[in-house]
Amino acid sequence: MPDSSADTTTTPSRRRLRRELDPSVTSRAEEGMRAALADAAEARLAADEVLADPGLTAAHRDALSLPAAPMESQFTRLKLGPAFWIAISWMGLVIFAAIFCNLLPLPNPNMPNVGPPLQAPTLAHLFGTDQIGDDLFSQVVTGARATMIIGVSSVIVGVGIGGLMGVIAGFYRGIVDVIVVWITDVLLTLPGLILALTLVAFLGPSLQNVIIAIDVLSIPAYARIARATSLAISQRDWVTTALSLGAKPRRILFRDVLPLVALPIASFTAIGASVAILAQGALAYLGIGPPNLLSWGSMIAAGQQELQQAPQATFAPMIVFFITVMALNYIGQRASGALDPRAGLL
């Protein structure tokens, strides 16, 4: 197996790259940064060659995967397309609904008979009404809150705990790494949904416990990505150089490695949030969770009982849920594709 990170000593292409970047270097720090940039650019060239090998498998790619090059070279060629901004606006709308659903001039979502029952969508009731005359539009708007609470908290916990764990494990390696990998292994032992169901079943069906359960199961994915990236970065020449110059490992970790790990993690947050929202939807659909909390999953389950008479009661939350998850997946896909073209597969 060819090693991509090794042998980045003086080859013609590296010298060329350095000349191109800027020959008039002033301070040592600046020189170091430019060298790092050149290293990264060249490592990417080498990596592209290696990754073009047809025999590579996912495990190889994982072992070889390089982080995105430093920001400077990245943000100049971000092209996201109009669909990306449509997805972003949709998420903005959902977040707006989640924050302000109580203040909006809508009928009380929990009050029956605000309109005639089983009514198809009209101007007064945008999504129609269900069997007991609940206004479906205001229910869907209110349901956004549960969804966004889960999505946001899973990102915070995933990045804060999972990401940090992974970065530290990949940077220091040794026993810390073994422990972190083992913890993620244990968390991944059970299929995520079953772990969440079990936790909620034993802890009790409150919103707080649903949040805890879903946050716990979102940790390993972030930890793995952060670990793989930080492992690859901390094997670069410039880390060794910094260490030999006398920089403390902690300083290198926080000042040099962390910002580079932040990019792939940031591009994963959209996908991570969509996974968490899917899990919450499944829990709510199965009726495991706070019984009085209005959420899209529980609305689908309730609407299914009257699929014949009032299909809008199922379809309204279904379509909104679908668009939200699709928007998040698309944002994640474009973001990671823009940051690292090779990872744009999924």
Binding site: I194, L286, Q304
Partner: protein, 326 residues
Amino acid sequence: MLRYIGWRFVRMVSVVFAVTLFSFFLLNLLPGSPINTILGPGAGDAAARRLVTLQYGLNHPIWDRYLIWLGHALQGNLGESYVSSQNVASAIFEHLPLTIELMIIAEVISLGIAVPTAMFCSLKPGGWFDKMVSRSTLALLALPAFVLGPFMIFIFAVKFHIFPASGETTWFTLGGGYSPAIVATPQSLLMPSLVLAAGQLALFARVLRGDLITTLKSDFILMARSKGFSRWYILRHHALRPSSFTLVSLVGLSVGGLLAGALIVENIFALPGIGTLFIASILKRDYLMVQGLVVLVASGFVTVNFLTDAFYTVLDPRIRRARLIG
């Protein structure tokens, strides 16, 4: 290679051990007496309390109790449900075949659709068919079972009456033994399997397409082209095999996703599998049943993953070093 498999085995055993510990302490360390938890709604009965105390040795220290419980569990004795007075292990094995059947059918469907689709896509990457597939798989990934399921019930059962909306058929106890549902009542299993297959299908098609396109860029494909083979022939005879490694490992890893999916699908279509048993037990607060299911599912899942990994290592020698590093 043996060293790698051995290392995986040690990790597998330690993880299973951690899961048993986790599920045991979930039941025993929660606020309130485990008696209340075990007995659930019937906790008031003094005789039952005494019986539970004796049966679970609740007068012993917790580590002794754990070892005793582990010993029983290793012998296949997961206790007896106090809600339904059913033996937990036998209840699980009664419901297991349907879930496995559902998972196998879904896997066959998703591979049967994903592989040819990916091959057609890679014939002309960026063409109209490829673009259409890429968009629809993206949409499929955003359609979880509990969205797709009700939607398909609406279309095929409510509107057109093609399939039954639920699988409540009599086949399950036919003659006291298990008879495969797909033979007895194929239409009651087809819709659930399709819903279950949807997510996997999208994932498989995307991954295989990517790998095929990478393979098709290599020199030996150019060589085959220059010999005059048709594109489709090259795709089938030269490119498919070296592109399928990721897919093979993904199929092994998909067991977990399928299991979670089966759990939802069974509940949507009211099929009597592991998933319905699990949810019903949670709702009935039948904690011993939940505990037994968690231990069993986790052990089975970890074993399947280990076997896939070991098998894969034997198949592809190049993987050994990469995985040892990673």
